[in-house]
């Protein structure tokens, strides 16, 4: 219930931001990737970022993760400047194949996060089993990532991120490489996981429908350099449903608005 209250707070916009970008500019190799980006993400909010390729959406996520430092402006987490990545912020990478340790089993990969977090080794097996069950991988603990399908590997990466007990989950096109059916299943699972944990999410995707389906708010970036072009509040009821939500008139209206925006940026 606490998380529901938190979500309400997040949507209604009364809470102080957990992550804030204050006039952030990033230059890499003499090129301005992101210019003057200001943005606040409230605790428990599900924010989706969309945009044409090369608009800097992944870069924005890496700034939020602390993997990049801005060349101008500030990125704050809980009011503190982000100087380096931290355990409370978990990142789900798109290329799960590269982000998992191929020499560790599913259990071992989840264990990596627990080891880093200082969970005593006696408590790890139970936690691992619980986390694998949460992401729908019970009974796969002994498998190596290479023995798992793409969808299962991405679930495993999500389990490892949950093991960090993150306040914020950063997801970089996590379902981009998966087939449509697997993707829809995982979308719903992420929604229920996030609802249960109350984590803040920044979700980068190039799939506009996915962004509206998942988010409380959708931000569209303009390219060269990356900056905010459109901001949409998604007032769709939760829990969301693959059929009824996607048929909702509001969903269709937002979809139209977002498609028009993306089309305009591509010209």
């Amino acid at each position: 219930m606490a998380s529901a209250a938190k979500r309400l707070e997040a949507v209604s916009g009364t809470a102080a931001p957990q992550i804030s970008f204050d006039a952030v500019t990033l230059q890499l190799g003499g090129k301005t990737i992101i210019e003057n980006l200001s943005l606040g993400v409230r605790p428990g909010e599900f924010l989706c970022i969309v945009g044409a390729s090369g608009c800097g959406k992944t870069t924005a996520l890496r700034l939020a993760a602390g993997l990049y430092q801005p060349t101008g402006g500030k990125v704050n987490f809980d009011g503190q400047p982000m100087r380096e990545p931290r355990r409370e912020i978990a990142i789900v990478f798109q290329d799960y194949g590269k982000a998992l340790l191929p020499w560790r089993t599913a259990a071992g990969n989840v264990s990596l996060a627990l080891e880093a977090g200082g969970t005593p080794s006696a408590e790890r097996p139970a936690r691992i089993e619980e986390l694998l069950r949460t992401v729908g991988l019970p009974g796969h603990a002994g498998k190596y990532p290479s023995e798992m399908s793409g969808g299962m590997q991405q679930r495993l990466q999500i389990a490892r991120c949950l093991a960090q007990e993150p306040k914020t989950l950063l997801m970089d096109e996590p379902f981009g490489a998966l087939d449509a059916m697997t993707r829809q299943g995982l979308q719903d699972e992420v929604l229920s996981l996030v609802a249960a944990s109350g984590a803040t999410v920044i979700f980068v995707t190039h799939d506009l429908d996915e962004a509206i389906y998942l988010g409380d708010r959708v931000i569209g970036l303009l390219p060269h350099p990356g900056r905010i072009g459109i901001e949409l509040k998604v007032n769709l009821p939760r829990p969301r449903d693959q059929l009824s939500t996607r048929e909702h008139p509001e969903f269709l209206r937002l979809r139209r608005q977002l498609f028009d925006f993306i089309k305009a940026t591509e010209q």
Binding site: R87, I91, K98, A99, R104, A116, Y144, S146
Partner: protein, 255 residues
């Protein structure tokens, strides 16, 4: 084991038996003087005699000791130095040219240098064997550390893992296939150099045994030593493969 594998195994044994039969035939027909070429029967006899008198045991132990110490020293130093060089791009840029100069240097060329500095001693042998055997391991380790998936380092950063944890939980396991391949190559180098050092410095071992047997025209003993050296190379290499297979079981899953 399936049928094809069994057939191949049987075939390879038949080929080996054929070679031994041919060797026996050549020896029996005295195509080569028995002074220089004993038959497999005489070589076997010399092996049995050598082992029952205990002479060959101590020689074998000597060679294994030279080989093992040199190889272990090379492995430890090679992995440590390789890890340092491999994990830093700057280091690679600075050190690579020197390595390229040292690497193709024939080890035999540094033996006189080693003898001049260390004398005809075990320390000299250890130095020469380790120096020769370090290259495959070090170069493989450098490559392995340089090729660690950058994404994994980002995962490590987001987990705020310590430097030590990153080395032992990410870089080292990731580089382990390369490192083990390098160690396997070095095993052969270590055996070769053990024999060379024993011959040159008169250190106790099979190299020395082979040399003395040849000088005394004891061809059966000479061949016994050579066979034993061949077996040593074969057995250590098989042991290494088994170790690799076990340690890299996750790679088998990948294929």
């Amino acid at each position: 084991m399936n049928r094809a594998v069994i057939i191949w195994r049987v075939a390879s044994f038949l080929v080996a038996a054929g070679f031994i039969a041919l060797w026996q035939l050549i020896a029996n027909l005295k195509l080569v003087s028995p002074v220089f070429l004993p038959g497999p029967d005489r070589a076997w006899g010399a092996l049995v005699r050598g082992f029952s008198s205990g002479d060959l045991w101590s020689k074998l132990a000597g060679t294994l000791e030279h080989m093992a110490y040199g190889w272990l020293a090379a492995s430890i130093a090679g992995i440590a130095i390789g890890a340092i060089i491999g994990s830093s791009r700057t280091m690679r840029t600075y050190v690579a040219p020197s390595l390229e100069f040292l690497r193709p240097l024939p080890v035999s060329a540094i033996i006189p240098v080693a003898i001049a500095m260390l004398g005809l001693t075990q320390a000299m042998a250890l130095f020469v064997i380790a120096f020769g055997a370090i290259w495959p391991i070090m170069l493989a380790t450098i490559h392995g550390f340089a090729a660690v998936e950058p994404r994994l380092y980002e995962v490590a950063r987001s987990l705020q893992m310590s430097r030590l944890a990153v080395i032992f939980k990410i870089a080292l396991p990731s580089a382990s296939p390369d490192i083990l391949a390098g160690m396997r190559l070095s095993l052969t180098v270590a055996l070769i150099l053990s024999v060379v050092c024993e011959i040159l410095a008169g250190l106790d071992g099979l190299g020395h045994w082979v040399l003395l047997s040849a000088r005394a025209f004891r061809s059966a003993d000479l061949f016994a030593g050579v066979i034993l050296l061949g077996l040593t190379g074969y057995v250590t290499s098989v042991a290494m493969s088994l170790a690799e297979h076990r340690l890299l079981a996750w790679q088998a899953a990948q294929r």
